[in-house]
């Protein structure tokens, strides 16, 4: 079947629904946010419509650059950890029996039903000195006395990886299921070990999927604001935490909007760069 180019105006009709949804749920809210980011903050009140750059000027400081840098680094680390765990896991999952796959999938989906608050509090209990996992290690004789593992950077990273991993696996699963098993069989026949076959055949064949997954997890992790608060110290607070502080606690919508717009722009730039680099490498190969 050959797809014909649209001839009449009505041929574009199927586009209308997604276009309206995108406008209503993305373009309008985002446009409002951009507009608010230029409004004049009324200290001790709310804001008045205006066109001022002061909100962006306040953001342009070493302090906020450091917070932004930390947020991006954290999101990149979460993405890398998730993919490093998710790819081998999903690969092994697709080799299992259909029954076992269903059980695993249900278990993973059930993690998605947990809210960020529950995940945060559960991990803060697991990492606590009084009731945490170190008590188990003490009971097993592996540690002298129980210690608190939270607040701290490893605690934040662990919980965020825990939260994002099910998404990672759900995104990777379709591509890995469709992966032609004869590829690895051929590699094995030619004498490659399973590990070698995985890294030299499976991973390169999935390069595009892995890149897309990295980007998705990165963006997902960038929006996290509860876990860094519950499990981290102030220096582990992400830009999203400070945006929440401004919007909710200081009622400074213009400044919060300016920070959010900046965060979106930086994210878009990074994603574009990654995609561009990926395409270039593919063209070179």
């Amino acid at each position: 079947m050959r797809r014909e180019a649209p001839q009449k105006l009505t041929d574009y009709a199927p586009l209308a629904f997604p276009a309206i949804m995108l406008t209503v749920f993305f373009v309008i809210p985002f446009g409002t946010m951009i507009a608010v980011s230029f409004f004049q903050r009324q200290q001790g009140g709310f804001y008045t419509p205006a066109f001022v750059l002061s909100n962006y000027e306040r953001f342009a400081s070493l302090f906020f650059a450091n917070v932004l840098g930390f947020s991006l680094t954290l999101a990149v680390l979460v993405a890398i950890c998730c993919v490093a765990i998710g790819v081998p896991f999903t690969y092994l999952l697709t080799r299992m029996s259909r029954r076992a796959q269903i059980v695993w999938m249900v278990a993973l989906l059930s993690v998605l039903s947990l809210s960020e608050v529950i995940i945060g509090f559960a991990w803060s209990t697991l990492f606590s000195r009084t009731a945490g996992i170190t008590n188990l290690l003490v009971a097993l004789g592996l540690m002298q006395k129980a210690v608190a593992l939270s607040p701290g950077f490893p605690a934040v990273l662990t919980a965020m990886v825990y939260q994002a991993l099910p998404y990672t696996i759900l995104v990777l699963y379709p591509a890995l299921v469709r992966l032609d098993p004869t590829l690895t069989e051929a590699a094995r026949t030619l004498g490659a070990s399973p590990l070698r076959a995985f890294f030299t055949v499976v991973v390169p064949a999935l390069r595009a999927t892995i890149l897309a997954t990295l980007i998705m997890v990165f963006i997902f992790a960038l929006g996290s604001y509860l876990l860094p608060q519950i499990l981290g110290r102030p220096q582990h607070w992400t830009l999203s935490v400070l945006i929440t502080d401004q919007a909710i606690y200081q009622s400074n919508m213009p400044f919060a909007a300016a920070m959010a717009v900046f965060l979106v722009l930086v994210t878009l730039a990074l994603v574009t760069l990654t995609l561009f680099a990926g395409r270039k490498r593919e063209a070179a190969a």
């Binding site: 809210p29 409002t32 946010m33 608010v36 903050r41 009324q42 200290q43 001790g44 009140g45 709310f46 306040r58 302090f63 917070v67 509090f121 803060s124 606590s128 000195r129 009084t130 009731a131 608190a148 607040p151 608060q229 519950i230 110290r233 102030p234 220096q235 607070w237 400070l242 502080d245 919007a247 909710i248 606690y249 200081q250 009622s251 400074n252 919508m253 919060a256 909007a257 959010a260």
Partner: protein
């Protein structure tokens, strides 16, 4: 921002408003019978549970007005929601319990409907600090409850109660404190000024504020948790995970009564006295019911019940109340309290917030 726009409360209020409008067209008489209701915003958690149990059923029995209580988040989240909703002409709650800083901020946009004091029988019995007025003299809010933020400790970890806020600075307490994360709800600048600088008047000048920030920065190594969410610290305090900090006197008292190893101490410099007002959103159509409610809540008997059952300090003059000395001591103290400098959070809020965030994050 998106959280507020997508807030289920405002959406439900819009749907409810539409349903009510349709009802008004078809069955006006039945609507009036059901109309004797009031949505009241109360801080979520212990506070809301106590009001639901001890106060609201009696109010409905006495006045025939049904109360739908709504759990508000503390801080200014609720103010932002009320403000956004009022712009759209809806009120997620008719009457809300609002903090003093939130009252001042709401005043700047005329969010609060003026209260007719002739309808409040005990108006003259209210303590001065519990009548919140617009600059032109209109009454924006009437004291609802007052509470203290005090020095709290886990009794298992600290057999002896500390007697001064200076304990927060003690190097022996390294990594043991839980403090509120925002400059405008922790009031730690005032604590610093009262403890080390002779009083909160020292914060009048920028120089004084800078000095207070410098002194306060010395506390940082002792702080394990800067909390926004009360449940987070309360849990850790009960278990002894974070054995010392600042917390609400009333809630700590209730937790101790439940058998948890916690105590609240009024340091010799005084507890931090904060208070909340009942305020009526200008978008509310229940002006009449709201006045009945505020009048009811300002009765000596109800204020005494609040002190006994909820653990809050009364808003009326002490001689109007029948509280025993012991009952009074459990909710308040004779030690001169630290009164927060609300004016600073109005006039210098951005500067204070920036300085504060840089101090605790940096």
């Amino acid at each position: 921002m998106t959280k507020i726009l997508n807030s289920p409360i405002s959406r439900r209020a819009v749907l409810g408003g539409t349903a009510a409008a349709i009802g008004a067209l078809s069955m006006p008489s039945i609507l009036r019978a059901q109309d004797r209701s009031l949505k009241v915003g109360v801080y979520g958690g212990y506070f809301k549970d106590s009001f639901d149990k001890n106060i609201f059923p009696d109010f409905t029995a006495a006045t025939g007005i049904a109360v739908e209580s709504i759990a508000e988040p503390t801080g200014e989240a609720w103010l932002v929601q009320l403000e956004q909703a009022a712009k759209a002409g809806v009120a997620p709650a008719d009457v809300s319990m609002m903090s003093q800083v939130a009252m001042l901020k709401g005043q700047s946009t005329d969010l609060w409907a003026p209260i007719d004091t002739s309808k409040i029988k005990n108006y003259d019995g209210l303590l001065g600090q519990f009548v919140n007025k617009y600059p032109d003299g209109r009454v924006a809010g009437i004291g609802a409850v007052a509470w203290y933020i005090t020095l709290v400790t886990n009794t298992d970890v600290y057999p002896e109660a500390p007697d001064s806020w200076a304990a927060l600075w003690d190097p022996a307490n390294a990594d043991k404190l839980g403090l509120l994360a925002l400059v405008s709800n922790s009031f730690l600048l005032e604590v610093t000024a009262k403890t080390f600088m002779g009083g909160t008047g020292a914060l009048d000048t920028e120089e004084g504020l800078n000095k207070a920030f410098e002194k306060l920065a010395e506390v940082k190594p002792n702080v394990r948790l800067w909390y926004r969410d009360e449940a987070q610290f309360e849990q850790a305090l009960k278990s002894g995970e974070i054995p010392m900090g600042q917390y609400y006197h009333d809630v700590t008292g209730l937790a101790a009564a439940d058998g948890h190893p916690v105590r609240s101490t009024f340091p010799k410099e005084g507890g931090i006295q904060d208070s909340g007002c009942w305020a009526l959103s200008r978008a509310s159509g229940k002006v009449e019911e709201a006045h009945v409610f505020i009048d009811y809540m300002s009765q000596p008997a109800i204020q005494a019940t609040l002190s006994r059952k909820v653990g809050t300090a009364p808003t009326l003059k002490r001689d109007l109340l029948d509280l025993t000395a012991e009952e009074f001591a459990s909710v308040s103290s004779d030690i001169d309290p630290i009164i927060p400098r609300y004016d600073l959070y109005q006039t210098k809020s951005d500067w204070l917030n920036q300085k504060w965030t840089e101090m605790i994050v940096g």
